[in-house]
C-alpha cells in the first residue's frame, strides 16, 4: 500500500521533470543537429549531408571567429578569476561581519541589472563624446576627444565586467566555509603568504574556482550583447555569426551547424577543465 503510493508519487514527480528535459532540452538539440545535417540542393529541396559543416571548415572567417571567441573567452575567464579572487577573499575572510554582508549585497545587486543596461552605461562612458573622454579633455590631459569603444581591449574589459560577479559569488560562498584556523596553522608551520595561498587556500577554494570558471566561460562564449555593442562591426564574435545565418540570411541549416559547433566546442573546453582540475559538474555548478 505505502509502496504503491510512493511509486505513484515518484511517477507524478518524474512527469514534469521528464517533459521539461525531453521537450525543451533533448528534442530541440536533436532537432538542431538534424537541421544542421540538411543540405540545400534546390529551392525547398534538402538532402542529408555534411555540407554545412564542410562550408564551416572551408571558410577561414567562420572557424577563425570560433577560435577567436574561444581564446578571448578563456582570457576573460582568467582575468575574472585574477581580479575577482582578491575581492572574494576580502569579503569572505578580511571584512568585518557587517561590512561583509553589505559588500556581498553590493555584489549581488548588479547581477540583476540587465547586460543591455550595463553595456549601455559603458557606451556612455567610453564613446568619443562620452564621460571619460570629456573628463580627460576638461582636465587638459588630451587635446581632442578619444574613441575608446570598438577595440578588443574594450570588449574584453566589458565582458570581464559583465561576468565577474558570477565568479565572485561562488568564490565567496566557498571561502566562507573555510576555517580561519587552517590559514593560521599554515603560517605557524612557517609558510609565507604565497605558500599558504598555493598550498591551503587555493586547493580549498577549488570547487568554487572551477564552478565560477565554467559559468563565466560559458556565459562569455555565448554572450551576444556586450561584444556587439562595445565591439561594433569588428567584434567578430561567434554568436554574431549564428545570428547572421539565422536572421539576416535566413540560412537556418548553416546556423544550426554553427550552433552545434559552438556547443561542442564549449562543452569540450569545460570537460577538459573538469578533468584537469579533478572536479565534476555536480560537485561544482550544482552546488552554487
Amino acid at each position: 500500500m505505502t509502496s504503491d503510493i510512493r511509486k505513484l508519487s515518484l511517477l507524478l514527480l518524474f512527469l514534469p521533470f521528464s517533459l521539461w528535459i525531453l521537450l525543451l532540452i533533448i528534442l530541440p538539440h536533436i532537432g538542431m543537429v538534424y537541421l544542421s545535417l540538411q543540405e540545400k540542393v534546390a529551392p525547398r529541396v534538402y538532402e542529408f549531408g555534411f555540407a554545412n559543416y564542410i562550408d564551416f571548415f572551408m571558410e577561414p572567417i567562420y572557424w577563425n571567429t570560433l577560435i577567436r571567441t574561444g581564446l578571448m573567452s578563456l582570457l576573460v575567464t582568467f582575468l575574472a578569476l585574477l581580479i575577482g579572487f582578491p575581492v572574494a577573499y576580502y569579503i569572505a575572510k578580511l571584512a568585518g561581519n557587517r561590512t561583509k554582508g553589505t559588500l556581498f549585497m553590493l555584489c549581488l545587486i548588479p547581477l540583476w541589472v540587465s547586460d543591455l543596461i550595463r553595456a549601455f552605461g559603458w557606451i556612455l562612458l567610453l564613446r568619443e563624446s562620452g564621460i571619460v573622454s570629456s573628463a580627460l579633455v576638461g582636465a587638459g590631459l588630451i587635446d581632442t576627444p578619444i574613441e575608446f569603444l570598438y577595440t578588443d581591449a574594450t570588449v574584453i574589459m566589458g565582458l570581464v565586467y559583465t561576468v565577474i560577479l558570477f565568479m565572485i559569488v561562488p568564490l565567496v560562498s566557498t571561502l566562507d566555509g573555510m576555517d580561519n584556523a587552517m590559514i593560521e596553522a599554515g603560517y605557524n608551520l612557517g609558510g609565507n603568504g604565497f605558500t599558504v595561498l598555493r598550498r591551503i587556500i587555493i586547493p580549498y577554494a577549488m570547487p568554487g574556482i572551477v564552478s565560477g570558471c565554467i559559468v563565466v566561460f560559458m556565459m562569455t562564449a555565448g554572450s551576444y550583447l556586450t561584444p556587439i555593442l562595445m565591439g561594433g562591426k569588428n567584434s567578430s564574435w561567434f554568436t554574431e555569426q549564428i545570428y547572421d545565418q539565422f536572421i539576416s540570411r535566413y540560412n537556418w541549416e548553416s546556423g544550426a551547424a554553427f550552433g552545434f559547433l559552438l556547443l561542442a566546442f564549449t562543452s569540450i573546453v569545460v570537460w577538459v577543465g573538469l578533468k584537469l582540475s579533478g572536479q565534476t559538474l555536480t560537485s561544482t555548478v550544482a552546488k552554487s
Partner: protein
C-alpha cells in the same frame, strides 16, 4: 604577497584600496546609465544642462517620457507577462524536482541530476535556436501533412516563455532543493503519528517550510526572465519584451535619454526585488 594573515595584516590598506577600486568599477557604468535620465538634454551625453524629470513624465515629443512612450510601455507589459508566467511555471516544476531528487531513489538518479543541471551551462543563444528549430519543424510538418497552421509554434510569446523556462527551471530547482535538504524529516513523521494525512502534512508542515525558498526562487526567476536577451532574441515574434524593444531602439534609432529613464526604472525595480529576496532568504537561516 596579497594574502597576509587573517585580521589586521599589513596587506589590509592595499586590500581596502583594491576592493574600493573594484566597487567603483562595478558602479561606474550603472551610474553613467542612470544619471542622463535626469539631464535636460536630448542626448545622453555631457554637458549637464540641468535636472529634469521629463524623460519619465513628459507627454510630448521631442522629450517624450517613458511613461507616455507606447512602445516602451508595451514592451514593459510583455516582459511582465512573460516573467510572471516563467516564474510560476519554473517554481512549480522546480518544487517537483526538489521532491523528486531529495525524497526519492530511482535508477540512474545521478545521470538525471546532471541532466537537470545541464541547461545552466548551455549558451542561451543555442537554447533559443534549438527550440526555434524544433518548433518550426513540427509546425512545418503538421502544415504539410494535415494542412493545419499552428500559430503558437511560430516565434511569439509562447516560445519566449518556453525558451526562458527551459533554463530558469534549473535555477529554481537548485534553490528549492537546497532548502528541502535542510528539512528535518522527523517533523513529518511526528505529524503522521498524530494522524495527519499525506496531503495535510504536506500542506501544513513541508510546504510552509519551503515557502521562503519558493518565493526567493520565484523572484530570481522573474528577474532573470526580465533581463534575458540571448534566448529571447531568436524566439521573439511581434510582441517584443522590453530588452528587445530597447535594443532595437539603441541600434536602429540611436539612444535618447528615455532609455536612461527605463534603465533607472529597471535598476530600481530589480534592486527592490533583489533586496526582498535576500531578506526572505536571510530569514531561513534563523
Amino acid at each position: 604577497m596579497l594574502i597576509r594573515g587573517v585580521g589586521n595584516g599589513t596587506g589590509s590598506v592595499f586590500f581596502k584600496l583594491y576592493v574600493l577600486a573594484f566597487f567603483i568599477f562595478l558602479a561606474a557604468p550603472l551610474l553613467a546609465a542612470g544619471m542622463f535620465a535626469f539631464n535636460d538634454s536630448q542626448f545622453p551625453s555631457l554637458p549637464w544642462r540641468g535636472f529634469t524629470l521629463d524623460w519619465f513624465f513628459n507627454d510630448s515629443e521631442p522629450m517624450l517620457g517613458m511613461f507616455h512612450d507606447r512602445r516602451l510601455l508595451r514592451g514593459l507589459n510583455v516582459s511582465f507577462i512573460v516573467a510572471s508566467a516563467v516564474a510560476l511555471l519554473s517554481v512549480f516544476v522546480g518544487t517537483c524536482n526538489a521532491f523528486l531528487f531529495v525524497r526519492h531513489n530511482f535508477p540512474a538518479k545521478n545521470f538525471f541530476y546532471i541532466l537537470m543541471v545541464l541547461p545552466l551551462v548551455i549558451p542561451g543563444v543555442i537554447l533559443g535556436i534549438s527550440i526555434l528549430a524544433l518548433a518550426s519543424n513540427v509546425a512545418n510538418g503538421i502544415e504539410d501533412s494535415l494542412n493545419i497552421e499552428l500559430e503558437f509554434l511560430r516565434p511569439g510569446l509562447l516560445l519566449v516563455i518556453l525558451g526562458q523556462f527551459s533554463f530558469i527551471t534549473t535555477i529554481t530547482s537548485l534553490v528549492i532543493t537546497a532548502r528541502l535538504k535542510k528539512f528535518d524529516i522527523s517533523l513529518e513523521e511526528a505529524a503522521f503519528n498524530l494522524g495527519g494525512s499525506r496531503w495535510h502534512v504536506l500542506r501544513t508542515i513541508t510546504l510552509p517550510f519551503l515557502r521562503p525558498a519558493m518565493i526567493a526562487a520565484g523572484i530570481v526567476a522573474f528577474l532573470v526572465s526580465f533581463e534575458n536577451f540571448n534566448t529571447t532574441l531568436f524566439l521573439v515574434g511581434s510582441d517584443a519584451p522590453l530588452t528587445i524593444t530597447m535594443y532595437d531602439r539603441m541600434v536602429k534609432v540611436g539612444s535618447t535619454p528615455v532609455l536612461n529613464a527605463v534603465s533607472v526604472f529597471l535598476m530600481l525595480g530589480s534592486g527592490v526585488l533583489a533586496l526582498v529576496s535576500l531578506l526572505i532568504q536571510r530569514d531561513k537561516s534563523n
